[in-house]
């Protein structure tokens, strides 16, 4: 019974973690790229520098859901809460 509760809670936590982090990162990515497009439309000669800045920004933003995914996969595959219950 406890095992089932922990497993279910873990999966729900994984879903929340992944969905919310993807939501936030999606909004962030959209903001960054839309502003880059705006800037490029206004000053096309700056396209190279703006693109570099955009890639750096997206790299920062994308790191967060990937860190979340990493911690989530850790919860799924090496569940520390489950091993508390089974006492291993």
């Amino acid at each position: 019974m406890e095992r089932a509760i922990v497993l279910g809670a873990t999966v729900i936590a994984f879903g929340l973690l992944l969905g919310l982090s993807a939501l936030g990162a999606g909004i962030g990515d959209g903001l960054v790229s839309s502003r880059t497009v705006e800037g490029t439309a206004r000053q096309p000669e700056l396209q190279g520098r703006l693109f570099t800045l955009m890639v750096i920004g997206i790299g920062f933003i994308e790191a967060l859901p990937i860190i979340g995914l990493g911690l989530g996969l850790f919860l799924i595959f090496a569940n520390p809460l489950l091993s508390q219950i089974t006492g291993k």
Binding site: V55, I56, G59, F60, I66, G70
Partner: protein, 233 residues
């Protein structure tokens, strides 16, 4: 329904114990592979160096060297610090290291937190060194105690830099390789090549971007630490 027991993914590194310390043998081997690749690349490039019509390899390398070198110089403008060679070395090492994991049978040395934390600690020491060199020891302590109640926050801020720097790179590469394994395990074989190929292409992009970000951040941290802030006294 998929049973969890079938999904055992091997994420632990094989270790050997020398003098009470655990060494991850695969990480060490892969790091040496990356170093050997870079050395061979450098030797080949050196032997084929041409002034007239350069080879494609020489062109690509020159582009990387020039781009990273110029970026470093621009970031550190007017500071009398030469980080160009370090930045180029970091970038090429991380680029090859991140891409090595996409070769079947090999793993990225950066999918181990020890590697990225080591590199991040190097960057941390570098930042503190240049900070002390710029302000001298008294000025450095004064800079930490700029607003005395915020001293713990300043220390946490400094300590969080290497942690986030290493986590960002480590998790990107680690999860990239893990997901590639999961795609192959979870999706039927006849179609798994399609998401596999897509994810591999994305991993190429991620690997390059993360190597670039690590390099740029290391240089920027030095630039921030040695910035002109005379108005604070």
């Amino acid at each position: 329904m998929i049973s969890l027991s079938r999904l055992q993914v091997e994420v632990n590194h094989p270790t050997i114990n020398i003098a009470g310390l655990d060494f991850n043998t695969d990480t060490i081997r892969n790091t040496l592979v990356v170093c050997a690749l870079l050395l061979v690349l450098g030797a080949v490039l050196r032997s084929q160096l041409k002034v007239g019509v350069p080879s494609q390899l020489q062109n690509a390398t020159e582009a990387i060297v020039e781009y990273i070198g110029n970026l470093t110089e621009e970031t550190l403008a007017g500071r009398n610090i030469a980080l160009g060679p370090l930045a180029i070395t970091l970038f090429t090492f991380l680029l090859i290291a991140n891409w090595l994991g996409l070769v079947p049978g090999l793993k990225s040395p950066t999918n181990d937190w020890n590697t990225t934390l080591g590199l991040a600690l190097m960057s941390f020491v570098l930042v503190q060194y240049y900070s002390v060199r710029k302000r001298h020891l008294g000025g450095y302590v004064k800079h930490l105690l700029l607003v005395p109640p915020y001293f713990p926050l300043t220390v946490i801020d400094e300590l969080a830099k290497p942690i986030t720097l290493s986590f960002r790179l480590y998790f990107n590469i680690f999860v990239g390789e893990l997901l590639l394994t999961l795609i192959i395990m979870l999706i039927p074989t006849w179609i798994s090549w399609l998401p596999g190929a897509a994810w591999t292409l994305f991993s190429l992009f991620i690997g390059a971007v993360q190597a670039f970000i690590f390099t740029v951040l290391t240089v920027s941290y030095v630039a921030i630490a040695t910035g002109v802030e005379e108005e604070h006294g």
